[in-house]
Symmetry: C2
Subunit: 276 residues, 2 copies
């Protein structure tokens, strides 16, 4: 079902490439156009038919665009606010897939662009159009971050775009999004990185599947996550402290050999985890 | 290939049940006998043919046993030291699958039992003979913890038992085992429990796959893990501190917005994780 004529996806990595594939499958627009700076990505996107056509030329790509999806790391998305203030068609809706939202939304709204913030909770530690697949968003959640400046019609279109991609959409204010994500996503990444950091060299042979599962996401892209951590630093620092307090409570129970309380805590938490 | 006539597995949970299945498949003994206190477990073990026969009666089961494998939580294993001092045949080799080793090995050696400590790094947050499967140990590691009191012949037999089950064996002193495991296994569990603990109720809908992966093991059995944490408390407390220091280093880099150092750390760690 078509929602518009032309969608431009800027950035053809795992997220942008996968979005192109599924939006083409669902025939959501007459034309899906891709933009990438890298020749190798453009070649691979063409080979995989992730988009109808693609180019390095942002200005050329966004001509007559109805929707522009910025699928790039946080700081790169922020950098597009100025570029698009000059080049994007007036009525065009601009949206993104960035992992933090407050700074991104502010950058676009301060330039009076017709912006709808979005964050698909999908992806993995893998990166690049090579790993793109049409079912990446199937049964996932996409958080939209409308503000008082967001047009109702634009919000509805971006909602329908993500629903067509297979996601369930939820709405949160940008600040609330960043507070929630700092706990459910950014903190787990800091934890995984920290745990791998303290593994002594030579202990690889002792590493069980539990350690591998907890640290899988420590293989994530350093540049991408550096930007996420720094654009959400206040909320993240607060959650690191909260998490350290939880660890210290366990440490105290263990050192005091408070077996009944330790058992009760573990029991309560394992029930909570089983319900997730 | 037979290594002896009779093996008795005491405890028919995920580990004991799976071991029974694979040792029967490999025809490693003439007779594989199971012991469990629970009627439902005995019924299920019979239905799945996890062992040749099984009983509640420990004394009856261990008569003429060549090898007794204690597949139970740590404190239950320790409790068997006294029971088996009276009932186990003189030449019988006693071994176990406990997740901490120092206290277990001491309990058996102090009673001059012919003991070989073992810890298969396999299993999952699942529990019970219902989940038992013959390939559970395939390509896993089993750590053996011989001491100066361990007979060479006994060690070799237990090594061949685990190799027949599909595991690669490594040897570590019991204290070294506990130090290593407190970091590669017990700490990840404390981390997972702590992270689930601080998730606010009602945030389930925002939980992405990264949070699920990091906390999968928080669904583990409370009693089992309480015993593991308490029997390895000194080493575990030290590693909780070490991990908190790593978290605090990240927090400092994030708060100072030390982007180059943060990037370098994340990059170094993601390379390290990819090599695991």
């Amino acid at each position: 079902m078509k929602i518009c004529k032309k969608i431009v996806i800027v950035g053809l990595g795992l997220i942008g490439g996968s979005l192109g594939i599924v939006l083409k499958q669902k025939r959501i627009a007459q034309e899906i156009v891709g933009v990438s700076r890298k020749d190798s990505t453009l070649r691979e996107a063409r080979r995989r038919k992730s988009v109808d056509w693609c180019t390095k030329d942002l200005k050329k790509a966004v001509g007559n665009a109805d929707i522009i999806v910025l699928a790039a790391p946080v700081n790169t998305i922020i950098g597009f606010a100025e570029k698009l203030a000059n080049s994007a068609p007036k009525k065009c809706i601009i949206t993104d897939v960035g992992s933090t939202k407050e700074k991104i939304v502010r950058a676009f709204e301060s330039r009076c662009l017709n912006f709808v913030g979005a964050h698909p909770l999908a992806g993995s530690e893998k990166r690049g159009v090579h790993f793109a697949q049409g079912n990446l968003f199937q049964d996932s959640v996409c958080i939209l971050t409308p503000t008082k400046n967001t047009s109702r019609g634009s919000l509805l279109k971006i909602k329908r775009l993500w629903q067509a991609a297979g996601a369930r959409t939820l709405a949160l204010a940008p600040e609330k999004h960043d507070a929630v994500l700092s706990l459910v996503s950014h903190l787990p990444h800091i934890i995984a990185f920290s745990l791998v950091d303290i593994l002594p060299t030579g202990w690889k042979k002792f590493v069980p599947s539990s350690f591998r599962d907890v640290t899988r996401i420590a293989a994530s892209d350093a540049q991408l996550w550096q930007e996420i951590f720094l654009t959400n630093r206040k909320s993240l620092a607060g959650n690191i402290d909260k998490f350290i307090r939880a660890l210290q409570q366990f440490k105290a129970m263990i050192q005091k050999q408070d077996s009944p309380r330790l058992y009760q805590s573990l029991k309560r938490i394992s029930v909570k985890r089983n319900r997730l």
